[in-house]
């Protein structure tokens, strides 16, 4: 491959002489205003302005640029052309991520240089802060790119910038929460070890950036019709389970630390299962392809086509079994949760997955997921809410997994799972099973 054609294409588009000259002039003017407003001091005010400008440029504008880089390909019908090219997925991934945002990085570079010069902090601290800003920007940009690629993969070609806007909004909301977390020098307890907070965040950002890049690479591979072994998603789920479980702290209320960690890992796996069922294709054609592979005994190709929610399920089962087995042996568990309660959570999760598929196998699949979410809000919220107000708490166990009425919850969940399964199977047989 000749350099990186995708990166070069973005360079042609983004770094025109006019824009290249304009950015430092504009930033220089803003910094000068900050300098004057701080009684002509090149200090904290200028450094703060530099950070704010970097966030605006690299986080927000960068996220928009990265997201739009895919949207414009779809809008201008050039994406198929990219897919048929000889460019390798990795080159396209990084070419798009850093090419589409090159102008924001160009401006961001000036901001970081000014911050370094003006902050007055010891050099190692400034460098740490700069590293966090850079990794945070990559996180924002790669999230946008990953989200837009995911939308393409599920064939929602009508994707528009509202998704990007939502992400920008989220970034704005989350940013104030993150900044004090970054700047205050406290430590983080993770798997019993104390880590300096800034170092911990730095490492976390680095790891999450790496996972996002891996996700982008996998999705591009999929779009480019490369065969990809289904390891990335289960590996990420496992990573997140281990990462989140590390924050569990021992206390008399929490019970045994290991069982608490298992419980956190279990809920992380459940959460990711819900996330993936919402963001993946669930159309009958995809399932028919899987059946075809199974009939032809092409197991690896079948595995390649298995949706991520189904790949996450074994980890849900595994953590549930480990938790039940461990607490049964030791007699001590996190928050004294009964095994049937955990089983009922799994059964309710199973019911919800089947419901998502049931509605997506119907006639009107366009807003099927919204319809399921509506049904779930009725099943989990409205109906049990009414029973709660009527002081009939035991009845809510039919709709929620409840620890105090564990057996009732468990039986209700399995009955609903069975009913949903029968309905889905009937719909499949009636409408989609014949090839």
């Amino acid at each position: 491959m000749n350099g990186n054609p995708e990166f070069r294409r973005h360079l042609w588009l983004e770094m025109t002489p006019y824009r290249t000259a304009g950015m430092p002039l504009l930033l220089g003017a803003v910094f000068y205003i900050a300098y004057l407003s701080d009684k002509s001091r090149f200090g904290e005010s200028v450094a703060g302005t530099a950070v704010v400008l970097f966030v605006a440029l690299a986080f927000l504008w960068g996220n928009r640029q990265a997201t739009e880089s895919i949207i414009t390909e779809i809008r201008d019908r050039t994406w198929d052309w990219q897919r048929m090219s000889s460019i390798d997925p990795w080159s396209l991934s990084w070419g798009k991520l850093f090419g589409s945002t090159i102008y924001t990085w160009y401006g961001g570079f000036f901001c970081l240089a000014v911050y370094f010069a003006a902050s007055g902090d010891p050099a190692p601290d400034s460098i740490r802060m700069i590293a966090i800003l850079v990794l945070g920007a990559i996180l924002c940009q790669s999230s946008g790119l990953l989200a837009s690629l995911q939308i393409i993969v599920i064939k929602e070609r009508s994707y528009n910038s509202s998704f990007s806007s939502a992400f920008i909004f989220l970034s704005i909301v989350l940013l104030p929460a993150v900044i004090p977390f970054v700047t205050h020098k406290f430590s983080v307890l993770w798997y019993g070890n104390d880590y300096a907070k800034i170092d911990f965040i730095l490492c976390s950002l680095f790891l999450f950036d790496a996972w996002l890049l891996a996700g982008i690479y996998c999705l591009v591979r999929e779009e480019f019709k490369f065969r990809t072994a289904p390891v990335a998603w289960p590996a990420f789920t496992l990573f997140l389970m281990i990462y989140a479980a590390g924050f569990a702290e021992s206390s008399p209320e929490n019970g045994d630390l290991f069982s608490l960690r298992l419980l956190i890992a279990f809920f992380v796996a459940c959460g990711l299962t819900y996330l993936t069922i919402l963001t993946e294709r669930k159309d009958p054609v995809a399932y028919r392809r899987m059946i075809k592979e199974a009939k032809n005994r092409r197991w690896l190709r079948l595995l390649e086509k298995v949706p991520c929610w189904a790949l996450t399920l074994p980890l849900v089962f595994l953590t549930a079994i480990l938790f039940i087995a461990f607490t049964s042996v030791t007699g001590d568990n996190a928050g004294r949760l009964s095994p049937v309660f955990i089983i009922s959570i799994v059964a309710f999760l199973g019911r919800d997955l089947v419901l998502f598929n049931f509605f997506n196998l119907g006639e009107r699949t366009k807003r099927a997921d919204i319809l399921v979410l509506l049904w779930l809000s009725i099943l989990y919220g409205l109906i049990p809410g009414i029973f709660m107000l009527l002081k009939m708490e035991a009845v809510t166990a039919l709709f929620w997994p409840r620890n105090d009425y564990g057996l009732l919850s468990c039986i209700a969940a399995f009955c609903q799972l069975f009913a949903a399964w029968r309905l889905t199977l009937t719909r499949w047989r009636n409408k989609h099973s014949i090839v």
Binding site: M1, N2, G3, S85
Partner: protein
């Protein structure tokens, strides 16, 4: 099932029992066909017949639920990336980067198709020359007319010299002159060894360059046959005659000539008949017509029109949306 499927050697594109479904819709239903190397095949059919889906499957952009696709002997479902290198695909929306100049667009196209760095400029320029757009290399794509945009899109598709060119409605929205030059281009590419499959609604335009016609309706191939019907040696060909003025007793006069048969008199100025394809016999026949005192002003073998062939295939009750 394929109808009128004829087999020739050097098959470039082969589709076998292709089934493609969209949720709730079967777009391709047991489609089988094969296209010989160096052919220009017109893919015709009503709206929603499955033309675009078939082209996208052949381009290895979509995976059918069942069936097999081979491009130059390579299984497109097992090795889509290998197939991509042999295919140039032009979608009905062209797919151009509006902010890039023609030079940048072609240079980029060449570089993403693995053309070595020292040959990029040349490959880009060659493609521009083939499409006669080399005189405006610094013009941005977004500022080009529709005809020129289409030329640039084709130039991008062929910059890596693919063996197969798939085009989805390439002439839609073009003026007659641009369409005519497009026909010339396709014939030129065919002569250079390219196999071309073109989908279109405009049969008149396809007639200018197509060697074969593949008719698809409701996801099924209902006909696949040559466009220019070349009769077997010694077989009959239809000759169409034009008269300068009306002639009394035309039928009686024509019946005196033994070497013609199946005479069809359209009106007092036009008639056609079957005779040998041998030019010598046709020459003698023309002289006989003149000797009979007929004011012959035109005498030419009749070419079967694509529209006729298509309508004959589709059938009287199904003449829609062509």
């Amino acid at each position: 099932m394929p109808v009128n499927l004829y087999v020739r050697k050097n098959i470039m594109i082969r589709g076998e029992h292709l089934i493609f479904d969209y949720p709730g819709i079967r777009a391709l239903n047991d489609v089988s066909f094969q296209l010989p190397k160096g052919s220009i095949t017109a893919l015709v059919g009503p709206n929603g017949a499955g033309k675009t889906t078939l082209l996208r499957c052949l381009a290895a952009l979509e995976e059918p639920v069942a069936g097999k696709i081979e491009i130059n002997g390579v299984d497109a479902l097992l090795n889509p990336r290998t197939c991509h290198r042999q295919i140039g695909y032009l979608s009905d929306f062209f797919g151009l980067y509006d902010e890039l100049t023609i030079r940048q667009s072609l240079f980029h196209a060449a570089s993403i198709h693995d053309i070595p760095a020292d040959r990029l400029e040349k490959a880009a320029f060659n493609a521009a020359e083939r499409l006669a757009i080399a005189d405006r290399l610094e013009t941005k794509s977004g500022k080009l007319s529709r005809g020129l945009r289409q030329r640039l899109a084709i130039a991008q598709a062929i910059v890596h010299n693919p063996g197969v060119l798939l085009l989805d409605e390439p002439a839609s929205g073009l003026d007659p002159e641009a369409r005519h030059s497009l026909a010339g281009l396709f014939l030129k590419l065919r002569d250079e060894g390219m196999t071309i499959l073109v989908s279109s609604h405009i049969l008149g335009e396809l007639e200018e360059y197509s060697t074969d016609m593949l008719v698809i309706r409701e996801g099924q191939i209902i006909s696949h046959e040559p466009v220019t019907i070349t009769p077997e040696k010694g077989s009959a060909v239809r000759i169409r005659c034009f008269l300068a003025r009306p002639v009394e007793g035309l039928a009686e006069s024509l019946s005196k000539i033994e070497s013609i048969e199946d005479i069809c008199i359209e009106d007092s100025l036009h008639f056609d008949f079957a005779c040998s394809e041998n030019p010598e016999i046709q020459h003698i026949l023309l002289r006989e017509l003149m000797d009979l005192g007929l004011p012959v002003s035109g005498f030419a073998p009749e070419r079967r029109r694509m529209q006729d062939a298509y309508l004959a295939t589709i059938g009287n009750g199904q003449r829609k949306e062509v």
